[in-house]
Structure formats: structure tokens, C-alpha cells
Amino acid sequence: MSERKLVDAKNTFCPGPLMELIGQMKMAEIGDELEILSTDQGSANDIPEWINKVGHEMVDTFENEGVWHIVVKKTK
């Protein structure tokens, strides 16, 4: 059973949240889902761009009270 790991990257700026996500992705297993939290809107736009470019799977993205949540599934 794959798990969803929360990556809290609130209160830092681009490209901090992306780098934190990549660091956690390296340690994750294929099929795992990671949910990154960011208060930086630039990162909320950039992270899906990176996911598409590298070829992982975008699962979900939404904003709640100033915090962006991006859920990604590691595919390789």
C-alpha cells in the first residue's frame, strides 16, 4: 500500500518548496504520493510545471486559506 507523505514548505520562497519536494521525492518509492504545502504562489505555479516536465503524475492541486496544496505521484 503506497502512502501519502506531507511536505510542509510553508513560509519559504521559490525555489525552496520545489527543492524540498524533490528532496522528498528522491527518498520516496515509486507509486507514493506526496502532498506539498506552499504559501508562495510562484511555487504553486512552478511545481506543476516541473511535474509535467519531468513526467511524474499530477494528482490534485487546490488552495485553502492562503496555502497551496499540490499532490504528486512518483512514477519513476
Binding site: 519559504t12 520562497f13 525555489p15 527543492m19 524533490i22 512552478d46 516541473w50 516536465k53 519531468v54
Partner: protein, 130 residues
């Protein structure tokens, strides 16, 4: 995914310039590009191990970067190498002038590179200067 070559020459000792260089290097590398960073002039001294010298702000933005918890440029350069296989080289002239060896520099810094090699590699791809 096609990888492109990105060559980044860093000569400034200002925080803003070093930050932007580190952002281009790290994001460029994790997007799958083949990134080479060339450190020279006032930029190199910050990469000496144990250096306590802080890059000075050129303007308001540099002050805000420090106050608002933006990622540290040195950490971003390290992540460019760790997560994106970027190559970070000191300029061979600059190491001679500063009288430092590769071992004196941060572990993520590779061997010194001459300008001839850097320019030869940079001929195919994007070149950025900070």
C-alpha cells in the same frame, strides 16, 4: 525529455546576483538540463569552506531576501548538484589568485576549469551571467 545545456558564469559578490545564479542553476538542473556553473571574480570567496563572509546586499531586495527566509544561495547551489547533477567549477585563474585548492572549497564544487573549456562547452546552449 530533451536536455539542453545551460552555462552559468557567476562573477558578482552581491547577494541578489548570487541568489539569481543559484536559482537558475538549481531549477535548470532539476528540470533535466545539463548545467555547468563557472565561479570567478568576487563570487568565488563565498565557496571557501568555513568562510564566514556574507554576501552584501546590492539594494532593498537583497535585504528582504535575508529577512524573509528565502532559500540560502549556497544551499541552492548544493541542491543543483545533488538533485540535478549540475557541475560547479571554480575558474582556474581565480583559484590561483586566491591561492586556494579544490579541497579548500565546498564539497559540491568540482575541479578548476579554464575559460577555454567553459567557453567551448558554452558554445552549444544558453549562457547566463550574474
Amino acid at each position: 525529455m530533451a536536455s539542453n545545456r545551460i552555462s552559468v558564469m557567476v562573477t558578482s559578490g552581491n547577494r541578489e546576483q548570487l541568489q539569481m545564479a543559484a536559482m537558475v542553476a538549481s531549477v535548470g538542473a532539476v528540470m533535466g538540463n545539463d548545467v555547468t556553473v563557472f565561479l570567478s571574480m568576487n563570487a568565488l570567496k563565498f565557496f571557501i569552506k568555513g568562510s564566514s563572509e556574507k554576501a552584501s546586499a546590492e539594494g532593498e531586495m537583497g535585504i528582504l531576501l535575508a529577512e524573509k527566509n528565502a532559500p540560502d544561495f549556497m544551499e541552492l547551489f548544493g541542491q543543483a548538484v545533488e538533485y540535478g547533477d549540475a557541475k560547479i567549477h571554480p575558474c582556474s585563474m581565480a583559484v590561483d589568485i586566491l591561492e586556494v585548492k579544490q579541497d579548500d572549497l565546498e564539497d559540491f564544487v568540482s575541479e578548476p576549469l579554464g575559460l577555454t573549456s567553459f567557453l567551448s562547452d558554452a558554445a552549444e546552449g544558453q549562457v547566463w551571467h550574474f
